[in-house]
């Protein structure tokens, strides 16, 4: 379950950012997770809670912004929304190249 190591990385980013801003308490965390990033949002919440326990982000509210999967048809060049990596172009029935929705990012923090 790589959500655990991802949550550890999130905490590290939080701690570094809080240190930079001279804060020792983080109340809320905004994560941006792409629909095609291979991250299970519920697993991420669970791991975030486990990993932040006893840290400066203990009890922090986790807001997850899910960004849509996007792709471009290799045949007709049209851009489209992708629910899954293996979705085919609805017009050409051909494979689509993923162009967005793979990001996983710490966007913003609310701190004291």
């Amino acid at each position: 379950m790589h959500e655990m190591s991802l949550a550890e990385s999130v905490l590290e980013i939080i701690e570094n950012s809080a240190a930079q801003h001279g804060s020792n308490k983080v109340h809320a965390v905004w994560l941006e997770i792409g629909q095609l990033a291979g991250v299970e949002v519920e697993a991420m919440r669970f791991c975030f809670d486990a990993v932040t326990r006893g840290s400066i982000a203990d009890g922090a509210r986790l807001e997850i912004i899910e960004t849509p999967g996007m792709g471009r048809c290799l045949n007709c060049g049209k851009s489209m929304h992708l629910n899954e990596r293996y979705d085919l172009c609805p017009e050409c029935d051909m494979p689509v190249e993923v162009t967005g929705g793979t990001e996983m990012r710490v966007k913003e923090l609310e701190m004291e």
């Binding site: 790589h2 190591s5 590290e12 293996y86 710490v106």
Partner: protein
């Protein structure tokens, strides 16, 4: 967990030794005592919003770039072999090593949760190998590779194979600094795996459809499997291989000699 780098559980072992730091000592994780909450007060006025905009994998990616720089500086061609457990990675490697003997130096980093069996199998061929045991960890990350390189010190211009932990899921997300991810799918696993585990097939540049000597005994549909793989990754190259019968080994070795071209 390593408090300096957060790169795995306390069970992480590299070359049989626990994970240690001779470097990065300045990077100690920031931890201050917790804000005491023995009284109630309103946080409202004193809080602020801070833009961070940092990729969660930034740290891994930074180590991966360091590794990539190291490989470039030493002319090392590195492949990250990913698959589910038992697809035939180590067997393919020992076979490849035999066939390349005398042609170019080879080195191997083996990743498994437990045991050094695979590194021992590689060393038995006379090629240097380091075993990483991830403990409960389910993938290798770039930081573990950096440590393994300190131990292994592959020869200049060598071919370096990293055999990842058997897992078709999360090794897809972790760049190790390799030139290519190579996904190995054995025909006994079923042709639907590229659709069931699309991230891995999307991340790989080459798919080895392995153990093809077993095809006569199965109802595995090769065409369908390739079509599924191309659906999630239109650019993926495909080779049919078997260490047992030797099928496809020429094509695979040709690809290695051309460094993935």
């Amino acid at each position: 967990m390593c408090t300096t780098c957060g790169c795995g559980g306390g069970e992480l072992k590299i070359g049989g030794k626990p994970h240690q730091h001779g470097h990065n000592q300045g990077e100690l994780r920031f931890r201050r005592p917790n804000h005491e909450h023995d009284h109630t007060h309103d946080h409202g006025e004193s809080t602020r919003r801070v833009q961070v905009e940092r990729d969660i994998l930034d740290k891994n990616n930074t180590f991966a770039q360091d590794n990539r720089g190291y490989f470039a500086a030493h002319g090392i061609f590195t492949l990250n072999l990913v698959s589910s457990p038992g697809s035939g990675k180590t067997t393919l490697l020992t076979c490849t090593i035999e066939l390349l003997r005398g042609e170019m130096p080879v080195a191997v980093i083996e990743g498994d949760q437990q045991t050094s069996f695979d590194a021992e199998r590689i060393r038995a061929t006379g090629v240097p190998a380091v075993q990483i045991n991830t403990g409960k960890g389910c993938h290798l990350d770039a930081h573990m590779i950096e440590h393994a390189l300190e131990d292994l010190k592959p020869a200049d211009h060598s071919l370096l194979f990293i055999e990842n932990v058997g897992n078709l899921v999360c090794p897809a997300s972790f760049d190790l600094g390799e030139a290519h991810k190579v996904v190995i799918l054995s025909v006994t696993e079923g042709e639907d795996k590229p659709l069931k585990y699309p991230d891995m097939f999307a991340a790989a540049d080459l798919m080895l459809l392995n153990k093809v000597d077993l095809l006569p005994y199965l109802s595995f549909d090769v065409q369908k499997c390739v079509e599924y793989a191309r659906r999630v990754n239109p650019r993926i190259q495909v080779m049919l291989t078997s260490a047992t019968s030797g099928t496809g080994m020429d094509e695979w070795l040709g690809w290695l000699r051309n460094r993935g071209a």
